[in-house]
Amino acid sequence: MSEAKKFLYVNRRAPYGTIYALESLEVVLIGAAFDQDVSLAFIDDGVFQIAKGQDTKSLGVKNFSPTYRALGDYGVTKLYVEKESLAERGLTEDDLMPIIYEDENDNFAEKPSLIFVDRAEMAKMMSEQDIVLSF
């Protein structure tokens, strides 16, 4: 295999109501085994996917939000969150789950996986990708 490609998974939709968020996560988990350069982006209603305190009991749907917190164990450590999307929905960084990873190149120090960027920075990051999968 040639050198790793840059894969970006763009999450644009709320976690429940449609299956896109869950099936996006399923691709991310499988794709993590391929040793590619993986990033996730959360824009628009996609920012709700990583919101704190999700409770799906009354929906009768599985709450899969804990899986995002396990992404670090799969080597998926770059989760870009668009600041404007948060602000437009009345959310702040404190409304999101703390998602961290252990940096194996830095004595397994715990570091945040969430990277907060503005719209222009998000666009620039997207333009640098080889593969963009949008859900």
């Binding site: 691709v27 794709g31 391929f34 080889d130 593969i131 963009v132 859900f135």
Partner: protein, 132 residues
Amino acid sequence: MKLSILVNEGPYTHQAADSAYQFTKAALEKGNEIFRVFFYNDGVNNGTRLTVPPQDDRNIQKNWSELAEQYKLDLVVCIAAAQRRGILDEGEAKRHGKGEGAANIAPGFRISGLGQLIEAGIEADRLVVFGD
């Protein structure tokens, strides 16, 4: 150019399914190589042989099956997405006790894992995504 195609929406509900087919056909006719077409989300519904559209309408599944035969295309339906939507091949139908004749995967399609999508992205020059 070597292309891979990802189809994320179902037939008749969403233009993406038609656009994916038209794009794939046009790309092949222009001499491009299609490494793989991968069906995910409701896109897996493009691969059921039980589709019966009205006679005066296009038959999306049949179009794909014929294109696959003509160009030896690799049409892959995601197994996880397919199972929760009731798309089965012989092996899966048997394994889940769905009875004789339950397999509904259309000719030219095969069921496999999500790794095939990642590989399609790695191996092709471009991965073209059709979705909402």
